[in-house]
Symmetry: C2
Subunit: 211 residues, 2 copies
């Protein structure tokens, strides 16, 4: 979509970069990291392999770039949805729904990351944990924004650990969802909210007053 006409011969660097990223996204989604070959990407782009290496350095860096972009898009959508609500619980709910809706759209790309044939490769985990971290940071930030307090030095690791754990729960629930697509995003969000909200509220209170 971004680049209408492939195989246009000589093209400015930025354009070629964008085109390669777009095609790489597709290819990784279709085949997974392991089975996607640089030769095929080169063929699809109508370009020779060294061009790709000149732009991205290695297959892993190319993959990392693709994943990071997706992760950022996800974080943006969640953050935006959260900011449209004011009540704490409603904020979390809105963020959750945005999260699951995003996955619904990007399903194929997502599955490549966390499930399927390639997930055994350590290279995946690095990027996955980066996304998780991003969600966790976002959550901490928004919690602070909402409650107006921040945990003291002692409470901080605990908060960090718990938000990461929650991000992991979302991630894992997404995989379950992949096998039960009939459940609507809102219901998923409500299930998870009912599960973690009581504990989360208590945690927030506990960490805020311990300072």
């Amino acid at each position: 979509m971004l680049v209408a006409n492939y195989r246009t011969g000589r093209v400015p660097r930025a354009v070629r970069s964008a085109q390669l990223l777009e095609l790489a996204d597709q290819l990784f989604a279709e085949r997974g990291f392991h089975a996607a070959s640089m030769d095929e990407l080169a063929r699809r782009a109508g370009v020779s392999k060294p061009v790709i290496y000149d732009h991205f350095g290695s297959k892993e860096q190319l993959f990392a770039t693709c994943v990071r972009r997706t992760g950022e898009a996800l974080a943006d959508r969640v953050a935006k949805a959260v900011r449209e609500e004011s009540d704490p619980r409603e904020r979390l709910r809105a963020g959750s729904i945005a999260y699951f809706r995003f996955l619904q759209d990007q399903l194929r790309a997502w599955i490549v990351l966390f499930d399927g044939e390639d997930a055994r490769d350590t290279r995946f985990a690095t990027e996955a944990s980066r996304i998780r971290r991003r969600q966790s940071d976002l959550m901490i930030h928004l919690m602070a924004e909402t409650s107006g307090t921040t945990p003291d030095h002692e409470g901080r690791p605990r908060l960090e650990a718990m938000t990461l754990a929650i991000a992991g729960a979302y991630e894992s629930l997404s995989l379950w969802w992949h096998e039960h697509p009939e459940v609507p995003p809102e219901e998923l969000a409500d299930w998870l909210l009912d599960l973690i909200w009581p504990g989360l509220e208590q945690l927030n209170a506990q960490l805020a007053t311990s300072s």
Copy 2:
């Protein structure tokens, strides 16, 4: 440990299998899936490559076998710990502590699975989700055992989804722990318990009475 003397020449099939599995476990833990080569495994076992392929079929199947064994050992330890308590909350706590203690012992093998250079490979995710599923099943089983009730047909998917989500939270928390090893397993367990117990209790009540 299992097989004292390697390079013994001709050896019965079952013995060779056990030896190869043991060495493969070590090798994967050292290098990760991607960087571990079948040639090296063959060299270490003092055997030629086709022997390995005769026993396990492919690198991926060999890896899957290793991971599955670890997953089973983990589930066994958790189940055993849980069964030594009777109060529901104490059961969950005991299981959690057992879970984290196991990871502490098997840290290297664990990290290979969920972090590090190879986790980008889809092949990993399959096995990881198998472990998660196992923990989830265990949890459902133990919850039923404890409360004496099982959810109706409608409530079942929700319960399944929530236990998987919780398993994901444990998994993700383990990765955080890897960077904060100073936190004792008991504290991790308590943090997580405080977070999910209220919601879990409520969920259990809700699903039991809806039948």
